[in-house]
């Protein structure tokens, strides 16, 4: 063959390129629909309807938003550093998308199964800081700069906690490969969230902080810093930041799902028992049922639509769900296709569940203050993560060297971690030392103040 390309090379290089293209093409759409989901969920939590106009139940809202964003004027502030102002959002979104290279969407859908997959994702997502810092700096605005500095400090701090939490997962899995981690959970017959709940918990918090989501959304806290590092951005470049944020959310969810929630495995996949006389394997029917159910529900909604065009769009979605449901059902018949397609389904479902957690926190909690955020990171999460790491290590040694049952060892380890967690919380509740400045640092009274 010309250029020395052979069939193996096609499998090795071409297929990943196609996956990559699909991801790059589909991700913005996915991000858009996650935004729609967020708005709908938020609206329903807040006793209102959310977007209802563009498309039936706002189903076409993401597309309208995207069009609006792309058509907006792209402003570069006068004294901004043009090169960096251009580069920063690009960097941000590139790094977010690059991380997908090692994320396994299913046993079959992975661009590259790197030996150091998890570390690779961590490394790449740590580069996302530059997008934020440089963008904030280049904007030549105090809000942006403050937001950028906060963001950098926050990301660096919480990356430590997240990394430590992930390491305990790695200890259990014994590999750095993302695929290998899922397979480890498969072979051990338990998702790591059940043996290392604290790791999951720490990673959950740290991942929210790392993606700058509420209640850790200080870098873009709209009530304080307007929009933080994005204050001066508009139009396309702003939407790149936006895309990067949602892409990052999916990445961190993907890591959590892979490491703690069994990746692409179906729930109870290791169990072959029966309940009510039915085998658990019947759960394989669930994806198809869900899609058909969605199709039915959408049909019901479609029939209620007043306008013809809305009805048509809704039926479009009905069609989409029917096709997906059919694909799910059909793949059940093929042993070669079924793991891939169903794996992708379960992976995405788990990612959505994790993301739902993100949204839920956002609508429920007030925002942390910066010093409190740092305190939480350094004085609670990192010590706890360290203790947890040591305890998990001890648990593994107990299980492997002293032949304790894994469950017993892990319960013991986690109980110790729990005690430490309680202790740390109590420490944190004691009067803080850092909140108020020392007497000599306090500004003196102004002239208008009455003594």
């Amino acid at each position: 063959m010309p250029f020395g390309i052979e069939f193996d090379d096609i499998r090795q290089y071409i297929a990943p390129v196609i996956y990559a293209l699909v991801i790059v093409a589909v991700l913005p759409l996915m991000a858009g629909y996650i935004v729609l989901l967020e708005r709908k969920v938020m609206a329903h939590m807040q006793a209102r309807m959310g977007p209802m106009r563009v498309g039936p139940h706002g189903l076409l809202q993401p597309i309208a938003d995207a069009v609006k964003l792309l058509l907006k004027e792209d402003i570069t502030p006068k004294n901004a550093d043009a090169l960096m102002f251009w580069l920063a959002p690009l960097l941000s979104v590139t790094m977010a998308l690059l991380a997908y290279a090692a994320l396994p969407f299913g046993p079959a859908f992975q661009i590259a199964d790197l030996d150091v997959g998890l570390l690779f994702i961590l490394a790449i997502s740590s580069l996302g800081i530059y997008g934020i810092v440089l963008g904030g700096w280049a904007s030549n605005s105090h809000y942006s700069l403050l937001g950028a500095l906060r963001s950098a400090a926050q990301l660096v701090s919480y990356e430590t906690a997240a990394g430590l939490a992930l390491v305990s997962g790695l200890l259990l899995g014994g590999t750095l490969s993302m695929k290998g981690l899922v397979e480890a959970q498969d072979s051990q017959g338990v998702w790591f969230i059940f043996v290392a709940p604290f790791s999951f918990f720490i990673y959950l918090i740290a991942s929210i902080a790392e993606t700058n989501r509420a209640p850790f959304d200080l870098p873009e806290a709209e009530s304080e810093l307007v929009a933080g590092y994005m204050t001066e951005y508009s139009g396309f470049r702003w939407s790149l930041y936006f895309l990067a944020e949602y892409a990052n959310m999916i990445v961190v969810s993907g890591i959590a799902v892979t490491l703690f929630l069994g990746g692409w495995m179906r729930p109870l996949s290791g169990v072959h028992a029966h309940i009510f006389g039915l085998p658990y394997e019947l759960l394989d029917l669930l994806p198809a049922l869900i899609f058909f159910g969605l199709a039915a529900w959408c049909t019901k909604l479609a029939l209620r639509q007043g306008e013809q065009i809305q009805k048509m769009v809704m039926f479009l979605f009905v069609g989409l769900f029917v096709v997906l449901g059919a694909a799910m059902a059909w793949s059940l018949t093929s042993t070669s296709l079924m793991p891939g397609i169903h794996g992708a389904f379960w992976f995405i479902v788990k990612v959505l569940v994790y993301l739902y957690g993100f949204l839920w926190f956002r609508f429920t909690f007030p925002r942390y203050r910066f010093d409190q955020l740092m305190k939480l990171g350094w004085q609670f999460l990192i010590p706890l993560a360290l203790v947890n790491l040591v305890m998990i290590g001890i648990g593994i040694v107990l299980a492997q060297q002293f032949l304790w049952p894994l469950s017993l060892a892990m319960i013991a380890a986690n109980v110790v971690t729990l005690i430490v967690a309680f202790w740390l919380v109590r420490q944190g509740d004691k009067p803080s030392i850092v909140v108020l400045p020392a007497e000599d640092e306090l500004p003196a009274a102004g002239p208008g103040e009455i003594r």
Binding site: A123, S126, V133
Partner: protein, 168 residues
């Protein structure tokens, strides 16, 4: 094999080009960005050398850690003044020339050294996945240096904290 060379030349060109830009940019932030680019290119060369673990370490530690610190400091020390001033010092011409002479001499030494540098050792075609191997060697053969390095880091950390305190 061809892909290998393409990758190498690509990364090498990127590294050298960015390095030159880093040295010549007036704005420190730009310099930092080009240094990041150099470091990433070097990470790419590590990958091309099949040292995945070092590739990741290079990115996490160097790019994600050390350079963040640099960027942070550059933003902290307000460099508006520095931007307007001369970027090279008065010895720059002499120094540049001498540095190039140094490089030339090094090349001469390397080339004329010939057999003195035994570089023709048979390269292994592929290396096994090495994250595990690196870990094993690091924690067995090089355990003491590893601990010393940890202490060095600790000392540096304390030193940095002390230096950056408000009142010294």
């Amino acid at each position: 094999m061809m892909l290998d060379s393409i990758l190498f030349y690509f990364f090498a060109a990127l590294a050298v080009g960015s390095a030159i830009l880093m040295v010549t940019r007036r704005n420190a932030v730009h310099s930092a960005v080009f240094l990041i680019s150099t470091l990433l290119a070097i990470a790419g060369i590590f990958l091309q050398l099949q040292a995945e673990f070092l590739f990741v370490v290079q990115i996490i530690l160097y790019v994600g850690g050390i350079m963040v610190l640099f960027v942070f400091v550059i933003m902290l020390v307000n460099l508006d003044v520095a931007v307007r001033q001369m970027k090279f010092n008065r010895q720059s011409w002499v120094a540049g020339l001498l540095a190039l002479v140094l490089g030339g001499l090094a090349v001469v030494v390397y080339r004329s050294g010939g057999g003195a540098f035994n570089l023709m050792g048979a390269p292994a075609t592929t290396m096994p996945p090495n994250a595990e191997q690196v870990g094993t060697v690091l924690f067995q053969k090089y355990f003491l240096p590893f601990e010393i390095a940890s202490i060095l880091l600790l000392v540096a950390m304390i030193g940095a904290v002390v230096m950056a305190k408000r009142k010294i």
